[in-house]
Amino acid sequence: MTTIAPEKVIAPQKQWQGQSVPRKEDKRLTQGQGVFVDDIKRHGMGYLHFVRSPYAHAHITSIDVSKAEEIKGVYGTLTGEEVAALTDPFFQIASEPGGQIKDFALAVGKVRYVGEPVVAVVADTRELARDASELVEVEYEPLSALVDAREALKSDAPLLHDDAGGNLMWQGTYEWGDLDAAFAEADRVVKIEELHFHRFNSTPLECDGALVEFNRGTAQWTIHTNNQFPGFAAIMMGPAMRCGLDKLRFVTQDIGGGFGNKITSHPQLVVCCLLARKLNRPVQWTEWRTDFHMSMSHGNERWFQDTEVAVKADGTLLGFRTKALDDAGAWLRYEPLGGVIWAQVTPGMYRWRHIRVDFTQVATNKAPVSPNRGYSRMQHLWFTERVIDIVARELGLDPVDVRKRNYVRAEDMPYETPNGCIYDSGDYAQMLDIALELIGPVEERRADAKARGKLLGVGIGSTLDSGTNNFGQSRLINPELQFSGNNEVATVKLDIFGEIVVTLGTTPQGQGHETTAAQVVADILGCSMDDVHVRAGHDSYWNSHAGFSGTYASQFAVTGLSAVKGATEMLAVEIKKLASVIFGGVPAEALELAEGGVRIKDNPEAFLPFMACGAIINANNAGLPEDLDVTLNCRYVYRPPFEVPDIERKFGNLTLTYAAQIHVAVIEIDPETGYYDIVDYAAVDDCGKRINPQIVEGQVMGATAQAIGAAMHETYEYDEDGNLLTPNFYDYHVPHALDMPPLRTGFIESPSPFTPLGTKGMGEGGGAGIHAVCAAVQDATGKIVTDSHNPYQRVWELLQ
């Protein structure tokens, strides 16, 4: 592994930010002392197992749970009929027609994908719950299945949701600039009939789960879970369960990977809640691997049809129009937000100004889609990158030159895109140069490969990782929605013995929040980060969360750390206020925080350690001035500067920051078989100021590995009857140790002018890798690549 950096970054003494300090989380996680959801046990708890649909599409004609319930050790069951009586359908984000569908926590009357939960069984062991599920008798009347989104709007297509009157879930037209003028000005119009972005997800190694307790006295549920966006789960669950959000206490600690896939477990959590109440005992649910593959949070499958690109002969891109067709699967669990999230990166990295996207989302008899690392932007950025390489090929131009000619330039920053998003900072051309330098000259290698009978290909992927959502973008798909902006919370307090205790609203899944938060706090308070105690996980009892709390969508370095910074600065002010009194009226400006205490700048001997500050306020406060407004317990809500977007024009700033990635893949194909290896790989990243470079690089590596897996191996394939063909890690091949290519990494730092720490959210830049592999396959084979998934067989077919 090689890493190059444009300049050596040397942090000043005692500066914690910018240092690759080891993570606070690591000791417990390497010693087997982490607490993941399946590790939590309660006396008398029952294990929940779901009876799932064996059909992609069928009416449920009868359900009989009596044989299961007769078994000793089976505590009880829950059916869709009971769910429909006890809850209301989940709130729908969609406007018409998708907004009409009735979505419950268990199938009611009909099943719509293989693996859909139909009945839940709770028993005193995992094994018994599974056995008893086999005794639940469900009669089905099978219906034709709809598995190809391109067939969904045909008049004879099977109809999933009667309530919606068709399979159309959402449709919208996005148009900016002057398409007619752009196409009139063009020297060439490049046409691309169809591009396909395939269905996969990040398969976190820990599946979903929960342990739910119901307190009869307070009518409150405590939900120990690994859901990564409790704020969203709460607003979905509360209205459905007809309770206030105070009745839903979410608790997380360690989460075994999320990648967006753990946002939409709210239906299963509702089932756990209902059963915990019904059976009067704690209910434990841990999803099996096959259950996850069949039912949880597939990434959006998308087609781009009838694409036309207006381009000048020199490769200057003027604009494009395309029809995007998105396959939502059977339910809208987070959708149709995917119908707008892509617009955060409408022009990709390029300066074209005239763009039209007709976006259509349909339902199919497949697992519901939900966010997956790079959610919806990845699909669109793959499309823009495919367009660049196809245009370059059609015009006989070098893809590097086309990119450099059209990239948004460093001097253009901050750059307003045609749809009003603001790219905050960056230098894409410089990043490309660094990536190409890491790879080095390829012509000799190409000749060498040829001499060995191999085809060498080089591909570039250049993408953006937009972070910190403006939830106002949801109004572009449903003007009735009352969401906008974003927020995150942190509390920082000084306790009796001087303990600095930090609480976050986030739900980290490996991003090292305890560590980076401590780095920020230590710099502001002038202490060691070892003295900063960051509570692990999330607990809605801590009063350190807000409506959008969670860990998703590349935002912790902005939302989370800005909240930490805000709360710590409040605490710093309070410490000085207190010290000012203790030191007999020395003005706060004459004080500084250093070495774990507060002192007079000109007289460092006058030193009050944090321990004394904490003790005075918390336990020895008689005689303090009445007007001393100090608690040493500070809560700060960070709210990014957003406006509500213009709904008519579909215009406005949809995200606060734009981290950038340039990846270059070099592959060698065996033309006889289509087998190929990635023989060299460079990933260059720019996420603004890096609080902990090692953690940043870890995210870059992980996203790269997932991209390689998705590009080469991973796919959720269905047969014509709607059976998932890749329901486990045998058939769904994720990269193993032997699959990993050599990796070279590089970076630049373009601080964001819009964020308190100059940081940008990051971690979702893997899409660059999918594209880089596609481009390399195109380069090696000389054939236009139209699919994001290129297993060996497809490459072989390309070569025929």
């Binding site: 080891p22 993570r23 690591d26 390497t30 010693q31 398969t203 691997r289 690089e697 790269t704 140790a737």
Partner: protein, 150 residues
């Protein structure tokens, strides 16, 4: 069925269902929750333990098969509170993110380093091929094991 299994040096005697998997026995009966479950099919290696000196996936064995045997899990790696050199190396090299695969990864690496104290890059990759990690891309894990092996 009665089983007597020594885990991390302690003898445990329990009555278990014959069909109970060793991983569920460790996690649910002995409350040794450091070993994890990621796949149910023997692919992911999160449940890897050392069984009578040999690296195994504990979801591929029944608890009753462990009767009379000696099992080492991640909880037994460090002697006391301090991290071992291998655990420290994982932290130093940022070889873990969510930490879910880490216990299995550490057991595979431990088995490798016992057999080959200074493994080559190739040997490291082969030794870890039965352990899936979805967070790191493995590169930092290779570095961590290599550094620990020196």
């Amino acid at each position: 069925m009665d089983v007597a299994v020594t885990v991390n040096g302690t003898l445990y005697e329990r009555d278990v269902e014959p069909r109970k998997l060793l991983i569920h026995f460790l996690r649910d009966d002995l409350d040794l929750t450091g070993s994890h479950i990621g796949c149910d099919t023997g692919n992911c290696g999160a449940c890897s333990v050392i069984f009578d000196g040999k690296l195994v996936k504990s979801c591929m064995l029944l608890a009753v098969q462990a009767n009379g045997s000696s099992v080492e899990t991640v909880e037994g790696l460090s002697d006391g509170d301090e991290m071992t050199a291998l655990q420290q190396s994982f932290s130093d090299h940022h070889a873990l993110q969510c930490g879910y695969c880490t216990p299995g990864m550490l057991m595979s690496a431990t088995a490798l380093l016992r057999a080959k104290p200074s493994p080559t890059d190739d040997e490291i990759r082969k030794a870890l091929q039965g352990n899936i990690c979805r967070c790191t891309g493995y590169w930092n894990i290779f570095e961590a094991v290599k550094a620990a092996g020196r």
